[in-house]
């Protein structure tokens, strides 16, 4: 295990994780807003926002799926030392981390059951950039409508149609964080006009 996998935890865990948790709540409560979170650094290619998010949300009882280029020995060691979460395949994952291309198709992730809709996966999608343009969002937590650049359209529309089941999404780029819960309806700006 090399140094990179042992360093990069929170400097002040109670405060850093509380701030990050607040930001994580806000982003899902108000889809379309973008928050800054920082404090944790995982080996590349994990962004600072994604590292902070999994360090805040995951523990030994939340299985994580590392997709594609995010499944490296360094990152596995980092998760083992700082979080202790079991690493599993997409079918058992409570959290999944990767780029949109690596996570696709998202139909393999559990969407919960009617009795327990919370037993679904939260996807943390690493993006090159986060912008408030592109797709039009509407639904709970959004006054009128909001805008967010999403990597795709149809899968998110299908996911919203599964409500009360379905997946929840976080989008991360650098230290920026955005969220898309299953309650949000997504439409193309062109179609909406």
């Amino acid at each position: 295990m090399d140094m990179q996998s042992l360093s990069g935890g929170f400097t002040n865990p109670p405060q850093d994780s509380s701030r990050a948790f607040r930001a994580a709540l806000e982003t899902l409560a108000r889809p379309g807003t973008i928050h800054d979170i920082s404090g944790a650094k995982a080996p590349a290619p994990v962004s600072e926002a994604a590292a902070t998010l999994i360090l805040t949300l995951c523990d030994p009882e939340t299985p994580i799926y590392l997709a594609g280029a995010h499944d490296t020995p360094d990152i596995r060691d980092w998760v083992a030392f700082h979080i202790g979460a079991p690493l599993v395949g997409p079918e058992q994952a409570m959290f999944a981390l990767g780029t949109w291309e690596a996570l696709f198709p998202i139909t393999v992730f559990p969407i919960g059951t009617p009795e327990y809709p919370d037993r679904s996966t939260t996807l943390i999608v690493e993006m090159d950039a986060l912008n408030q343009d592109g797709m039009r969002l509407s639904g709970p937590g959004i006054k009128d409508s909001a805008m967010l650049a999403l990597p795709d359209l149809a899968p998110f529309q299908m996911n919203a149609g599964l409500f009360p089941l379905g997946l929840d999404f976080y989008f991360t780029a650098g230290t920026r964080l955005a969220g898309l819960p299953r309650t949000t309806n997504v439409s193309d700006l062109m179609e909406a006009n």
Binding site: L6, S7, P13, D59, P60, A80, F81
Partner: protein
């Protein structure tokens, strides 16, 4: 506080059996004894925290007779921390109880035992501590032996 997982195995450790032995001595020693031994050793190197001391519970498991199926004996309070000396050695500590200073000192000694001054640390800190632990064990065994009752059966005269 979340449940603690054992720290991942260290491939680069010089000899994991020897390291297990000294970590065990550090964890079992009385914090006061450890503090005294470290003070006697002298100046400690500077270090950075990798994981600040945190207090949590570990499930102690046992096997009946050492061979049966595992059962949960009970939860125990433990403190753990990890640090890196300025010379680069990484030290880990898991100690019983909620004494964060104990965990910190145990991790420093663990890291120093992997460095160039291992022999000096061994002589100044670990040898006195393990002798003390051994003495405590003998004392306890003697105390228990003094209460031993030997049962015997008189010849019953049937033959």
């Amino acid at each position: 506080m979340n449940k603690m997982n054992p720290t991942p195995s260290q491939d680069e450790a010089p000899d994991s059996a020897a390291r297990k032995a000294w970590m065990s001595v550090l964890a079992k020693s009385n914090p006061k004894d450890l503090n005294a031994a470290i003070t006697a050793y002298g100046a400690l190197p500077a270090f950075d925290w990798l994981r600040r001391p945190e207090i949590g519970g570990v499930m102690v498991r046992g096997r009946m007779g050492g061979t049966g199926t595992a059962f949960n004996l009970g939860e125990m309070t433990a403190t753990r921390c990890s640090l890196r000396l300025e010379t680069g050695e990484v030290g880990h500590a898991y100690v019983q109880g909620r004494d964060t200073r104990h965990a910190e000192q145990a991790a420093i000694v663990d890291a120093m035992m992997q460095g160039p001054n291992a022999a000096a640390v061994q002589a100044a800190v670990l040898t006195p501590l393990s002798e003390r632990l051994a003495a405590q064990r003998v004392k306890r065994a003697e105390k228990a032996a003094a209460t031993k009752v030997d049962f015997f059966t008189m010849v019953r005269g049937e033959d």
